[in-house]
C-alpha cells in the first residue's frame, strides 16, 4: 500500500507547495490545507499496513496481536483539529488583510516604511535636534516626545 500512497502524498506536497508560492492568499490557505492532509496521510502510512489488521478495539487485554497501532491515528486526531484551528485563523487573517488593504495578493501589500524605522530614537534622541515646539496641539502624536538629551544640556 506504501507505493501508491507515497506517490499521492508527494503529489499533494508538490501541489501544496505550488499553491503557497502563488500570489493569492486564498490559494496559500488551500496550499496549507493540502500540506496538513498530506502530513496526516504520511503519519498513518508510517504506522504500517497489512490486509489482515483490524481496528484497535480491544476485546481482551491479552490478545492484542493483529490490531492496528493506535498511536498514529491518535496523533492524527489531534493534528486534524489543530490544523483546522490554524486554517480558520489563517483564513480570517487573510480576510482582515483584504479588508484593510483591499488586496488578496501578498506582493501588493505595503512594505515597512524605512523612514519611520530610521527616525525616532537613534538620531533625534541622541542628537537633541527636535526642540520642544509650542505649535503642536496637545495629543498630536506626530510630535516626538522631548528627547532626554534636551533636558540634559
Amino acid at each position: 500500500m506504501e507505493l501508491p500512497l507515497a506517490l499521492v502524498i508527494g503529489f499533494l506536497f508538490a501541489c501544496g507547495t505550488y499553491a503557497i508560492l502563488r500570489p493569492n492568499l486564498i490559494r496559500v490557505v488551500l496550499g496549507f490545507g493540502m500540506y496538513s492532509n498530506a502530513v496526516n496521510l504520511l503519519m498513518i502510512v508510517c504506522g504500517g499496513y497489512a490486509k489482515s489488521t483490524a481496528a484497535p478495539f480491544v476485546a481482551d487485554a491479552k490478545q492484542t496481536a493483529g490490531l492496528m497501532d493506535p498511536l498514529p491515528p491518535d496523533i492524527i486526531l489531534t493534528a486534524i483539529v489543530i490544523s483546522f484551528a490554524v486554517g480558520a485563523l489563517f483564513l480570517i487573517v487573510c480576510y482582515r488583510v483584504y479588508l484593510d488593504h483591499g488586496t488578496d495578493n501578498p506582493e501588493e501589500l505595503p512594505q515597512d516604511d524605512p523612514a519611520e524605522e530610521a527616525g525616532g530614537i537613534g538620531f533625534f534622541g541622541a542628537g537633541g535636534y527636535v526642540a520642544p515646539s509650542s505649535g503642536h496641539e496637545p495629543g498630536s502624536h506626530a510630535s516626538p516626545s522631548t528627547p532626554h538629551a534636551m533636558k540634559a544640556v
Binding site: G10, C15, L30, A88, D112
Partner: protein
C-alpha cells in the same frame, strides 16, 4: 601573616557594588557621588596593599594568593582570582589613581549638569575601575575576557559623556568598535589556548612547562598568539590601531587621565606581560612585538611633536610609551615593566590633570592659543614643570631613572645582541623617539606657561585645591621616586611580572653608555624643539597626501563597507515577500534532507517496495485523490476550489478506512464539513481568483521547488518504509494492552486521547478557544474602526 586570600574577590566586587549604588542614589547625590568613588577606590587600594604586604611575608613573590569558585566546571571555566605581585601592582595603580581621579572629578564635573547624569558618570567610572581591577586580578582567561569587555563598554559610555556632540559620539563609537572587536578576537585566542592545553587558568598555565610546550608545539600556537596580540594591540592603541586613542580625547579630562593614560590602555601591555611566560619562546614573539612596539614608539612620538591639541599631544605620547613597553616585552626584558609603567602613570597622569585644569581655566586646549600663564597659575605651572621634566627624563626625576634603565637594558639585551644589524637600528630609533618626547615636554612647559600671553587669557586664574592636589600627589611621586632611588629599585623588582628581577636603578650611573645615550637624547630633543619650525615644514612635506590619518580613514571605510554589505544583504534576504520566505523554507527542507541522506550514505537503491499488501479500493482512492488534488491546484474559481478541497478531505478520510482507523475517519468528516462551510462563508467576501500571468522563469522556479519537495517527500517516505529502516516494533502495543485494563475502554485510540493524553487534549481545546477569540477579535475590530 594571616591568610588574606578572601579579600581578593572583594577588591573587584566592592567597586561594582559601589557603581550600582551610584546609579541608584546618584540622582539625589549629584556631584557628591564622587565620594563613593573615592571610598570604593580607597577600599580596594587598602585591600590590595594588605594582600601585597601579606604576599611579601608569606610564600614569596612568584605564587600569590589564589581564590577560586567553580563557574562552568564542565568547560573548565572558573571565577579564579590571583593576587600575584604584578596583578597587585596593577590593582594598586588602578585603585590608587582611582582615588586621585575621584577627588579631581568631584571638583571637575560641573554643577551645571543634571544630578542623574552626574550619577551615571560616576557609575560608569566606578564600574570601569571594578572591571579594570578584575582584569588585573583575574586568573581565568575567560573571566579576564569578561572584565576586558566591560572596560570597553564603560570606556564607550565615558568617552561619549558629552553625547550631544557629534564628535564625542564618533570618538566613542570608534573606540568601542576597535577595542570590543579586538576583545572578541582575543577571546577566540583564549579558547584556542584553553582547548589545546585543557586549562583556562593563567597560573596553571605558567606553572606547568609541559602545558606551555604542548601549546608551543601545537600547529595552532601561531593562531592563538596572533589572536591574543590583536586584542592587546587594539586595547593599547598600537600601530595600526593607534588612531582611536586621540579620538577618545573628547571625553572629560578625568576620564582621559584615568582610562586613556593611566589604566585602560595599559591593559594590553598587562596582557602581553601575562602571556610572556607562555608565548615568550614562540619564534614570532620577539619580531612581532619589537616591530609593532617600535613602530608605535616612533610614530606616536612623531605625531606628538606635530599635534597642537593639548590632550592630543598627551594621547599621542601615551601611545608612544605604550609602544615602548610593548617592545620591551618583545625583547623579554620583563623586569623593566613595573618601572616603566609606574613612571608613565605618575608623570602622564599628572600632565593630564594639568591639561584638564588649563582647559577648565582657559577654555581652550589648543597649545597655539596658550602661553604666559606662569604668573596666573603658579601652582599648576610648577606641577607641570615637575611632571614634564620627568617625562623628558631629566635628572633627578623618576623619568631619568626609567630612561637610563631602558637604555641599559637595550644595550645588555641578549635578543638584540644576537642581531647586531638590528641592534643599532632599534637603539637609534629609541633615542629618536625619546628625543621627540623630550621636545614635547619642552613644548608643554614653554608653550603653555612661558612666552607671550594672548590677550584673551586675562581671565585665567589658579584652580581650586581639589583640582591641583591630585596632580600634586602624582608630581610628588615623579620627584620622590627619582630621589629615593633605592626604594624605586625595590618597588620595580617586587612589582614586576618577571618576579625575580635584579634591576638596579640609581641616580649615579655605573656605566657610561646609557648616560651617553641619555645625553644624546637631550641634545637631540633640544634640537628638535629649537628647530620645530623646520621639523614642521619637513613633516608637512612628508605627509602632504596622507594627512597623518590614514588608519582612521581605512577603519571608517571598512566600517562603512560592512554596514553597506549588511544593509544590502538584509534588504535582499529579508525582502518581505511571502513567496521568497516560503520558497526559501521549502528549498531548505529539500536541501537538508538531500544533504543528510548524502552524508549518511543512503541511496535510492535501498528502497524496497512491498507490493503484496495492497487493496484494490485503496489503490482506487489514491488515484481519485491524485485527480482531486490536480483539480484543486488548477481550480480557476473559488467555488471550484471549495468543492475540490472538500473532495480531497473526504478522500483522505476514506483512506483512513483503509488503515482501519474509524476514529480519525469520523473526526476528518466532521472537521471537513465545518471547514467547507467556514471556507465558503469567508471566501464569499473575498475577491474572485484572478488569472495570473507569471513570467516564465518565475513559473519555472515555482514548479522546480514544488517538484523537488514532492519527490523528496516521496523518496523519504519510501525509504522509511523499506525494511532496513522500518521499525517493526509496534510502538502502541503497550497502549493496546493497557487500554481495557487501566482505561476501562475497548477503543484504544479513545482511551489514549481522553485518558493517557488528557492534558494534551485539554491543551488542544484551549487552542480552539484561543482561535475562536482571535477570530472574533479580528472580525470585530473592523466594525469599531468603521
Amino acid at each position: 601573616m594571616t591568610d588574606q586570600t578572601h579579600l581578593l574577590p572583594w577588591i573587584v566586587f566592592v567597586p561594582f557594588a559601589a557603581a550600582l549604588l551610584a546609579l541608584w542614589i546618584g540622582r539625589w547625590l549629584g556631584r557628591r557621588t564622587g565620594v563613593l568613588m573615592v571610598l570604593a577606590a580607597a577600599a580596594s587600594f587598602a585591600m590590595s596593599v594588605m594582600l601585597f604586604v601579606g604576599g611579601l611575608g608569606g610564600e614569596g613573590i612568584s605564587g600569590g594568593a589564589r581564590y577560586f569558585v567553580p563557574w562552568m566546571p564542565a568547560m573548565n571555566i572558573g571565577l579564579g582570582f590571583r593576587g600575584d605581585p604584578f596583578g597587585l601592582f596593577f590593582a594598586l595603580l588602578v585603585s590608587g589613581i582611582g582615588i586621585l581621579v575621584g577627588i579631581y572629578s568631584l571638583n571637575y564635573i560641573g554643577a551645571d549638569l543634571r544630578p542623574a547624569r552626574v550619577g551615571r558618570y560616576y557609575a560608569a567610572l566606578i564600574a570601569f575601575m571594578g572591571s579594570m581591577l578584575g582584569v588585573a586580578l583575574a586568573d581565568d582567561l575567560m573571566l579576564l575576557f569578561v572584565f576586558w569587555e566591560i572596560t570597553s563598554v564603560t570606556s564607550f559610555l565615558l568617552i561619549g559623556f558629552w553625547y550631544e556632540r557629534d564628535i564625542a559620539r564618533r570618538g566613542a563609537m570608534t573606540a568601542l568598535q576597535v577595542t570590543a572587536l579586538g576583545g572578541l578576537v582575543m577571546m577566540v585566542g583564549f579558547i584556542v589556548v584553553g582547548v589545546v592545553t585543557g586549562t583556562f587558568s593563567i597560573s596553571e598555565l605558567t606553572g606547568d612547562p609541559q602545558k606551555i610546550q604542548k601549546l608551543l608545539d601545537s600547529p595552532l600556537a601561531l593562531t592563538a598568539l596572533a589572536l591574543i596580540l590583536a586584542g592587546a594591540f587594539t586595547k593599547s592603541a598600537q600601530v595600526p590601531f593607534h588612531f582611536w586613542l586621540p579620538g577618545a580625547m573628547v571625553a572629560p579630562t578625568p576620564v582621559s587621565t584615568y582610562l586613556h593614560a593611566a589604566t585602560m590602555v595599559k591593559a594590553g601591555i598587562f596582557l602581553v606581560g601575562r602571556m610572556l611566560p607562555v608565548f615568550g619562546n614562540h619564534p614570532a614573539w620577539t619580531p612581532v612585538l619589537v616591530t609593532v612596539g617600535l613602530a608605535t614608539f616612533v610614530l606616536g612620538a612623531y605625531q606628538a611633536v606635530r599635534e597642537t591639541d593639548l590632550k592630543g599631544i598627551l594621547a599621542r605620547s601615551t601611545v608612544s610609551t605604550l609602544g615602548m613597553v610593548m617592545m620591551v616585552y618583545g625583547l623579554k626584558a620583563a623586569d623593566q615593566d613595573a618601572l616603566q609603567i609606574l613612571n608613565h602613570a605618575a608623570y602622564k597622569g599628572g600632565l593630564f590633570l594639568v591639561a584638564g585644569i588649563i582647559e577648565h581655566a582657559a577654555h581652550t586646549r589648543d597649545i597655539r592659543k596658550l602661553g604666559g600663564l606662569r604668573k596666573d597659575m603658579p601652582i599648576t605651572f610648577w606641577l607641570c614643570v615637575l611632571t614634564a621634566l620627568s617625562m623628558a627624563g631629566v635628572p633627578p626625576f623618576f623619568g631619568f631613572l626609567a630612561k637610563e634603565s631602558l637604555y641599559g637594558a637595550l644595550l645588555a639585551n641578549a635578543e638584540l645582541a644576537a642581531h647586531p644589524q638590528a641592534r643599532w637600528l632599534v637603539i637609534g630609533l629609541c633615542v629618536l623617539a625619546n628625543a621627540c618626547i623630550f621636545a614635547v615636554a619642552c613644548r608643554l612647559i614653554f608653550g603653555i606657561f612661558l612666552g607671550k600671553k594672548p590677550a584673551d587669557l586675562d581671565h585665567v586664574h589658579e584652580a581650586a585645591p581639589g583640582l591641583w592636589a591630585p596632580a600634586a600627589v602624582l608630581a610628588t611621586l615623579a620627584v620622590a621616586l627619582g630621589l629615593a632611588y633605592p626604594l624605586t629599585s625595590w618597588l620595580a623588582n617586587h612589582l614586576s611580572s618577571a618576579g625575580d628581577g635584579h634591576l638596579h636603578v640609581s641616580l649615579w650611573p655605573e656605566h657610561w653608555e646609557p648616560l651617553t645615550l641619555s645625553a644624546l637624547t637631550m641634545v637631540l630633543g633640544l634640537a628638535i624643539y629649537k628647530g620645530r619650525t623646520l621639523v614642521a615644514q619637513l613633516a608637512h612635506l612628508l605627509d602632504k597626501r596622507a594627512h597623518g590619518n590614514g588608519a582612521q580613514q581605512a577603519w571608517d571605510g571598512g566600517m562603512a563597507l560592512a554596514t553597506w554589505a549588511g544593509e544590502t544583504f538584509s534588504a535582499r534576504w529579508q525582502s518581505g515577500s511571502l513567496r521568497w520566505y516560503l520558497g526559501a523554507v521549502m528549498s531548505a527542507l529539500v536541501g537538508l534532507v538531500v544533504y543528510g541522506l548524502y552524508r549518511v550514505g543512503i541511496g535510492l537503491a535501498e528502497i524496497q517496495v512491498n507490493l503484496r499488501e495492497m487493496s484494490w479500493y485503496g489503490l482506487a482512492l489514491c488515484v481519485l485523490l491524485g485527480m482531486a488534488t490536480w483539480i484543486l491546484a488548477t481550480a480557476r474559481t473559488r467555488l471550484g476550489a471549495a468543492i475540490t478541497t472538500t473532495a480531497v478531505g473526504f478522500l483522505v478520510s476514506l483512506l483512513f478506512v483503509v488503515y482501519r482507523s474509524p476514529d480519525i475517519l469520523l473526526t476528518q468528516i466532521l472537521i471537513e464539513t465545518v471547514s467547507t462551510i467556514f471556507f465558503l462563508l469567508v471566501v464569499y467576501f473575498m475577491p474572485p481568483f484572478k488569472r495570473e500571468h507569471p513570467s516564465p522563469p518565475r513559473k519555472l522556479v515555482n514548479l522546480g521547488i514544488s517538484a523537488a519537495v514532492g519527490v523528496t517527500i516521496t523518496v523519504l517516505l519510501l525509504l522509511c518504509m523499506s525494511p532496513p529502516y522500518r521499525e517493526l516494533h509496534n510502538l502502541g502495543a503497550g497502549y493496546l494492552s493497557r487500554s481495557l485494563a487501566e482505561g476501562g475502554g475497548a477503543n484504544a485510540v479513545n482511551v489514549i486521547i481522553v485518558d493517557i493524553r488528557a492534558m494534551d487534549t485539554n491543551g488542544e481545546i484551549t487552542v480552539l478557544v484561543v482561535v475562536g477569540l482571535c477570530v472574533y477579535g479580528l472580525l470585530r475590530a473592523r466594525r469599531r474602526a468603521a
